[in-house]
Every structure is written in structure tokens, then in C-alpha cells.
Amino acid sequence: MSSDFRSPCSESSPPEGVTSVQEDWTQLRTLLLAPEQTQLDEIRERLDNRVVQSEDVSHVLPEAFALRGDNDQQLSTVLTPYVENGLAASVRKSPRTIVDAIAPIIGPAIRQAIARALQSMTQSFNHSLDESVSMRGLRWRVEAWRTGKPFAEVVLLHRLRYRVEQVFLIHRETGLLLQHVATDGAVIQDQHVLSGMLTAIQNYVQDSFGGRQDQTLEQFQVGEWTVWSEQGSQAYLACVVRGTPPASLRDILCDALDHIHAQHTDALTHFVGDAAPFTTTQPHLESCLQAHYDSPPKQGSLKLWILLGLLLLGSAWWGWMTYQAHARWSNLLERLRNEPGLVVTEAKSAWGGYHLEGLRDPLARDPTAMVVEAGLEPTTVKAMWSPYYALDSPLVLARAQSILQPPTTVKLHIEGETLVATGSAPADWARETKRLAVLVPGVSQYRDDGLVTTSIPVLLDQINRTIIHFRSGSSTVEPAEQAVLDAVSTTLRELDRAVLPSGQRVAVEILGSTDTTGSVARNLQLSKQRAQAVLAILGEKRLGDGTALVTGTVRLSDQREATSEAGSQRIVTLRASLTVPEQIHGTARP
């Protein structure tokens, strides 16, 4: 501090005795300026101390912002990028906070927008339905086709009594647009320019007719549109209305304008071109988007009921037909799945037809016939069948029948995977079949132990040549005759197997006879006893189920023939024949 307060003599070198003067001067200065010196030191320290500076600035910062912000937009301009960056960073870091903050604003707005859209859609649908069956509706449909507009829109326009399509909130002095709303589908030109022109027209009319400030152009009409304006002290509303609005609409406009003026007095008074503060006026302007439609004529409701009834009947008929078709289709699929030799791999039903894919054995039933049986039109079912060999027993048997061509005396059947042949057949066929049978798809083994290769007439002849001899007056079969009976029983069993496939049966008549000695009565009894004795023995031989044994006696004339043929009358002969089951009467099984 000494340099700040120089002595008047400080420029020359100090002479003798001057030192004491300087000391005096310093002392004097200290005495005079000590308090100021202390204050200066404090101020300097305050200026150099950044903590103190920050505290001081924090006390005046809000007032400083307010003062600068009132003067011009520079503070906003400078701060805007930092605020934007800060907001972006905050959204990235913690979007939930921002969502919570704006949800109370966005939520109602979204709900309102959805409600309006639904309301508009429902109204449009109702009107379209009302008019869809009337002559007027047909006329309007032609108009819609001609003008390229949707039918619902044409109906609405004809039913329309009035509709506020656009609402402008305009600053009265500058003609600048503050806010604008419009209905869906309204024809919107540049709303800013339109605001200016509306204001210019207002000014022109007011000037031209020398009106006072409060006398303004309240409405003008252009074609089907009417423009209404409602003046406020700072702003005015201009509404573009289609149709003829009622006087009550002006009350709605007044209310909206009053609310806007009340809520935005400051923003309107200090308006310098920034319309941002007026975005909150949108609900007020939307309340002015009124619309009114004529009610549909009363007979329309009768037509509506008739239409609804027809629709219901049509729906019921369609439902019943669909159910029937579905049932038939399900039935066909069930039949196809149960049918041997058919495998359904894909089944689809679609409008106007059905589609089937699968495998089919060449010997399986014709699926087209099954389609007809299920009640479906064959032309509606498109089927693609790929050939394959089925292993179902009936089809394997049919395949074997087709390939092996057995004679009618042979019966084939399937036991598991074994093909079994019974009956009688020529030896050549039996031999060839033994080789071919296992080559038939589905047949792994072949068995023909029940197949007789001797022909039936030969077997019959062998049996009919059989003669059992008896001693005179005896009805006991001699032991030597047992071998004859064993042989004939074997032949009988073969014959039984041979005739089995044809369904025929073997009838064997056992005929006893005697020589001519003795009385006739005794001889008749002896004949019967000899036949009974042979019957008893043959009955124990386990003949086939298809063989029936009966006893009888040879007539006298026959005995003579037999005697001449056999050379002896003490015999029993067998007479075998083939019969159908009904032909056997009075058969006796031992």
C-alpha cells in the first residue's frame, strides 16, 4: 500500500534528516488512513476469494435472470442449447422421470384424441348404416362413386346441418395466428396466411364503413361455408362453419374467448410474435368444434330392423350350412381313416373346397365313392393319392387272391403274417403257390397243410370201393378189417378238407348186407347190426366236421348185384356223396 500514497518529495533522493520526516509521514498516514486501509484489505480479499464470490452471486442470480429475461430474448437464446442438451441427457439417463412428469399432460390428450376418433367413426358408421338401403342412400352412393369420396363422408355431408370445421385464435392488432384447430377431413389452407387475410378483411370492412373499433365484421358467407368471428379485447376467434350454424354457437365462442382472455391476459398483452404460450388454449378452441346432423327418418329404423333380421337369417343359414359341411367333412375323414389301404396325411378345408393328400393301396376302396357316400360333391374335393402296399389282412388276402389266382376249391385266409390255403387243388397249382406265396407283399410265410391235392371224384371213388367182410351170421368186425376201416377214415378226412372251401358236406351211407341163408327178418336185422358196427368204429376215427355218417340196408335187388360184384353177401359197403347242408336230413352222428 505504500506505493499508492506517495509523498510529494519522493521524486528526489532523500537528504539528511529526511528519514525522520518519512517516518513521521508514514506514522501520520497510518494514523489517518488505518480504517480505510483495513476496509481495502477486506475488499481485496473478498474479490480474490472465489467461495465468497459464489455466495454473493447466488444471492442475486434469480433477480438477475428476471431482469435480463424481461429486457429481451437473449438470455433464452443463450440458455436454450444448454437446457436442450440437459433435457436430452436426462431422458437418456432416466426416461422414467420425464415420463412421470409429462404423463399428466400427455395422458388426457391421448384419451381425448382417441375418444374423438371413436366418436367420429361411430357417428359415420351409424349414418352409413341408416342410409344404406334407402333410395336416397343409393343416390348418395352414386355421388360417392362419382366424386371419389367415401360413402360415409357423403352421407355425413348431406345429413349435416352445420359443422365448425376450423377455429382460428388470432391476435387482433397484428393479425398473427396464436392457435388453430380443425376437424378431421377439413380443407386447410395456410392458416398463418389465412389469419392475416381474415384480419385484413376485418380492417378493410371496418375502414370502409367507418365503423367504430367495437363494430366489426361478425360473419360472411362463401358458398356452403360461413365464417364467424367473435372479437375480444386482445384476440378474436374466427370459425369456418359448413352449413347454417345456430345462434347458440356464438355463446360457445364467447365463453371460449372469455376463458382464453382470462387465462392468458399477460401473454396477450405482451405478445411479440411467440405463439408458444397459447398452445394451452387448444381445449377451448376444440370446444368450439361443434357439429349437428339431421336425425334419420323414422321408417329408416324399420328398414334397419328388416336389414338386421335378414342379416341374422343369413348368418344363421350360413352357420347351419357351414356346420353341415363341417360335419360331412369330418365324417369323410373318419371313414377314410378307418378304411384299410387308405392313409390320410393332410386334410384342409377352405372356402369353396377341400384338399386331401395321402397314400392309397391299389386294392383299397375308391375314395371318390366314399366322398359321395359322405354327402359331399366330388368336384369340391381335390385329392392326391400316392400308391403304397397296405399290410392290413383283408388287403394282403385280396393281393394274394389277385396274384395267386386260386381255384374255386381252394380257400385262402390270413393268420398274422401267414397265408393259409385249405381245400383241394391241383398238385401243379399247389406246388407253384408254395413258391410264389411268400413273394406277395405282406405275406411272410405260407402254410398248406390243409390243402388236398387229390381230386374229389378220386376220393369218392376210393371210398365207394370200400368193402368190409363179416363171417356168416356175425355182426362183429374182424380184426383183419380194421386196416380197411383205417384207410377209409383217412380218405374220408381228406375228402372232408377238400370239400370244405365249397361249403359242401360229405354224406356217407353205410350199407349192411347178408347172404341168402336164413330168414328174411334175421337177415334184415343182421344187415342193420353189421352197418351199426362199422358206424361205431368209423365214428371213433375223428372224421372231419363236415362228414355225416348214416346207416342203411341193401335192398334185395341190390344184394344180388352186390353178390355178383363182390362174390360174397356178408359185407358192408360205403356210399359217399357230396351234399349241401340243407340236403342232409335225419343224419346221425355216432
Binding site: 429481451d72 437464446t77 398473427l176 398463418h192 389465412l194 385484413a200 371496418q206 411479440v272
Partner: protein, 173 residues
């Protein structure tokens, strides 16, 4: 975006409409200008970092039959005075219109432009008169409606002046 109302002033047929038509969104036909004396058009410019939507009130040319309606001038944040360099009378008209504007709007920013710079040799307005205008504080630009010269600068100049002015002191008055 900030909106500002701007009036286009000038004598009859000085080229106000021709100057701006190629650079603005045109919605209404010229017919309205002769009917009610004004058409409104708009033009967006960037004044520094700030986007400004200029609402241009293109007023019918002042002549002996029709005078500018003062009601159209009210609420303007600035105005543009247009002269025709080949007709000295338009300078006189411009001076009169500017006085009217000051009376109606107060000391708001304005820019003047002398049209037909493409035929400078035929000008009746000389350098001395232009200097006199500048001496009165006028911003004088040169432009050509035919070549489209000077129009962007014109709007940028008036928008910048308006944004630099203290809006509350002038427009709240």
C-alpha cells in the same frame, strides 16, 4: 417459431409484389390486392440462431386514386419501403409513406430497397439522393425483381433489425 408482421410499402408499380413473389409461399391471388388493398404472404428466415416467420402484408401501391390504409400498418414489427430507380417520383412517395408509417407504427425498424438495379443506367434516382436517404438513417438496398437479386438480403436485413431491436419498448407502446 417467432412470427412478425411486416408491411411492404411503395408507390404504384414499383415492383413490391414482383420482388417477393418468387421467394414466398403464395396462397392468394393478386386480385385481393386490387380489391381490398392487400395480400398477405409469408416468408421464413433465420435471424442468427432464431427462426422468424415473416407475415408480409403486401400493400397496394400508393397513387392518386388509392392511399395506404393505416389500419393495415397497425401491429407491424417493421416494414419495407420499395422504390423504382427509374422513376424519381417513387422516391417522393417512399418518403411520404415512411412518414405515415412512423406516425402509425412509431419508430419500428425498416429497410428500403431500390428496384430495377439491372437497368441502373436508366435510373432517375441518383447517388446524391441515395446518400441523403442514408443520412436520414435509412438502410438502402438495391435489388432486381427481374433477376431476383437482393430479396433474401432484404428480408434477412429487416428480420435481423427487428430481432435486434428491443421488442418490449417498441411493440408494447
Amino acid at each position: 417459431m417467432i412470427q412478425k408482421k411486416i408491411c411492404m410499402l411503395g408507390g404504384f408499380a414499383v415492383g413490391k409484389t414482383s420482388l417477393v413473389r418468387r421467394f414466398v409461399s403464395n396462397v392468394f391471388s393478386d386480385h385481393y390486392q386490387t380489391t381490398i388493398g392487400v395480400t398477405v404472404e409469408k416468408k421464413s428466415v433465420m435471424a442468427g440462431e432464431q427462426g422468424v416467420l415473416l407475415m408480409l402484408w403486401d400493400l397496394y401501391g400508393e397513387d392518386e386514386f388509392q392511399h395506404v390504409r393505416e389500419s393495415y400498418l397497425r401491429g407491424s414489427s417493421g416494414y419495407i419501403v420499395v422504390m423504382d430507380g427509374t422513376r424519381r417520383a417513387t422516391l417522393e412517395t417512399a418518403l411520404a409513406l415512411q412518414e405515415t408509417a412512423v406516425k402509425t407504427m412509431g419508430p419500428v425498424p425498416f429497410v428500403s430497397i431500390i428496384n430495377k438495379v439491372d437497368v441502373r443506367s436508366q435510373w432517375e434516382i441518383d447517388e446524391r439522393e441515395i446518400e441523403q436517404l442514408r443520412a436520414r438513417g435509412w438502410t438502402v438496398l438495391f435489388g432486381s425483381a427481374k433477376l431476383g437479386q437482393g430479396v433474401e438480403e432484404l428480408f434477412l436485413s429487416v428480420a435481423t433489425q427487428i430481432m435486434q431491436a428491443v421488442p418490449l419498448s417498441s411493440e408494447r407502446a
